[in-house]
Symmetry: C2
Subunit: 367 residues, 2 copies
């Protein structure tokens, strides 16, 4: 690593006031909520680049335009009249784990909690693109939201593109429901894109325009953000599908300030979730000695083809302080690393989580 | 102020990893949501001392015991069969503004966003206490939640007491609904206390026991936490009803990392919310010069007798960088201070918010 740290990063483990301001509004999943197969809407992680727009559903339109034979425009009723699919999908922010990197990229300072699984309801994107008749020559489809803000010095609407293959073949939904209810404002009311298996930046919220492009999109979120930069600032590969990750439902009870866990000695069922956007989860291993040794956990069934599974591990917890870790492997051969892999903007850090657990007999409190 | 900073505080403006961990789970209101009179559940601020407990509503009981003539035990259906009241109530965390103090107390690092207004539905606490027949000699009523964790070195359930007068006369509710739905898990499912006008720590979540006490409660949350300590560590007055505060719906659009606002020159309607637990809001003033001069805003009607109002202020925004502030006054004569008033644990800092706004013609972006 260079010294001083690269531009846009900080070597200190202390968080800057700007990062705190982001952390106060964008929140993670409280990790105990990993027990739920479907995350309640208010517990699902949130990363909102600009402000939540106020959208009057009566005025809302989704326009489908660009390199298409038949430009289309839908109101919400027209979208709801199209074939409907509901699917539990695990989302994870591409920046999850960023604040555990050193030096740390200055952006939303996620630890490991930027995840959630919701049941999304909507109509397949593919059907709408086929109805519009996307031109064979269109290499990409652009998705534009109603939210506006400044990034890279330019005011813009949030917008991301997908290749035409990914737009047609990924199982993407134009989603107007979350967990059986209309989308909450913070999750894109009234309409968002949901692309199974991709990191969260793909799932454009407050979606108002789908545009078939004649040329690849060179906008901020694809060409500047969400790429795996090296330490010299060279943009590398774009961020795409999720790497495998596993997390624990933190055992025992927390201390308020430190969030450190304590529990009584004896048998304890450790459990958690695991997911990957690159294949099925084929293995989860657990370590109770900080990653020195691992043993296999039992795997449950995935909540859906695009969602996490629960894993369990029986531990005879001895007195003492232990570092508990879990490590997932997927069918594409990806394994969570023990140590973070660094990149300049702090994306896709799927290193194993480490939870410190103190196992002790309960204190005898005088009554 | 002493040097070095008092135990439990930090002089740096950088946030520690422990504070970040709290900020990643406990989130504020995204300030643009101040436009809504009633805050959607997922946008309401959250401060959870321990973990969110998983409660099976079929097993849930509320027990009313202690110094009463008739101990009572309710299941949820029995509570729902009692007289029902719904009331919009503004909540604010007692620690709101803590991270703007110097030196800063080490705890949840709130800026100004730890607020929200929900419509709570439930049965008046007073009716249940009267049905149980609280003894005349009982000076306090204790409220105990199902959530457990460690604070002050001791494992405990979250528990807070109120004086018998406050329990009977504050309009407190045993609430099982938020915004017309069953409570979300993070807001206390299936039952919580709601005490209008008090800071949020009073509103015990996952409420399972109401106990009339023969002696004042000396538990952690009343006797150690939530008191206005001086810099020598002497516990002062307990935290009780909210001081007045006003906040702006941030004008213009944000920059992603800094959250700084930009807007075009010309007329702009500044608006925001104001509330107090100590009286009615009688005045809100706005400054566009960092607090050097103030002018009166127009006040709307409060959303309820226990909730915020909206204020508006017409500004002819000139080009340049401006610091916008608002200052509320209540009918008890409390006025928001321009600078924070310090206490060791960082409670009730209601100093005026300062938002930096850059007013400029939009950049000519080449098309």
């Amino acid at each position: 690593m260079t010294d001083p740290p690269p531009t846009g990063t900080i070597a200190s483990d202390q968080i800057t006031p700007e990062e705190l301001r982001l952390a106060a509004r964008n929140h993670g999943l409280p990790l105990e909520a990993l027990r739920d197969p479907i995350t309640p809407a208010g517990l699902h992680y949130l990363l909102i680049h600009y402000d939540i727009p106020a959208v009057d559903p009566a005025d809302f339109r989704l326009d489908v335009d660009g390199e298409v034979e038949r430009p289309l425009s839908f109101d919400l009723d027209a979208l709801r009249a199209l074939p409907k699919v509901t699917l539990p999908v695990t989302f994870e922010c591409a920046g999850n784990g960023r604040a555990l990197l050193a030096p740390r990229p200055l952006s939303q300072p996620w630890l490991t909690e930027a995840v959630g699984t919701a049941e999304w309801g909507g109509t397949p994107l593919r059907g709408v693109l086929e109805e519009a008749g996307v031109a064979d020559a269109a290499p990409e489809v652009l998705f534009t939201g109603l939210d506006r803000g400044v990034e890279g010095g330019t005011q813009q609407a949030y917008a991301r593109s997908l290749s035409i293959e990914d737009a047609l073949e990924s199982g993407a939904l134009l989603a107007y429901e979350m967990n059986g209810e209309p989308l909450p404002p913070q999750h894109g009311f009234p309409l968002r894109l949901v692309v199974p298996r991709w990191y969260g930046m793909t799932n454009v919220k407050w979606l108002t325009r789908v545009t078939a492009l004649a040329e690849p999109f060179d906008g901020y979120q694809n060409s500047v953000a969400y790429r795996l930069y090296d330490e010299n600032g060279e943009p590398g590969a774009p961020v795409s599908r999720m790497l495998p990750r596993s997390l624990l439902v933190p055992p025992g009870v927390p201390e308020f300030l430190s969030r450190e866990r304590s529990l009584e000695p004896g048998p304890v069922e450790l459990r958690g979730r695991a997911w990957s956007g690159q294949g099925e989860i084929t293995r989860v291993e657990v370590s109770v000695d900080g990653g020195a040794t691992f043993a296999d956990a039992e795997l449950g069934e995935p909540v859906s083809e695009a969602a996490w599974l629960m894993w369990t591990f029986h531990w005879q917890a001895p007195e003492g302080t232990h570092e508990v870790c879990s490590r997932a492997t997927d069918s594409a051969g990806n394994v969570q690393p023990l140590d973070p892999r660094w990149n300049l903007k702090g994306y896709v850090n799927n290193a194993v989580e480490r939870i410190t657990v103190t196992v002790a007999q309960p204190a005898q409190v005088p009554s």
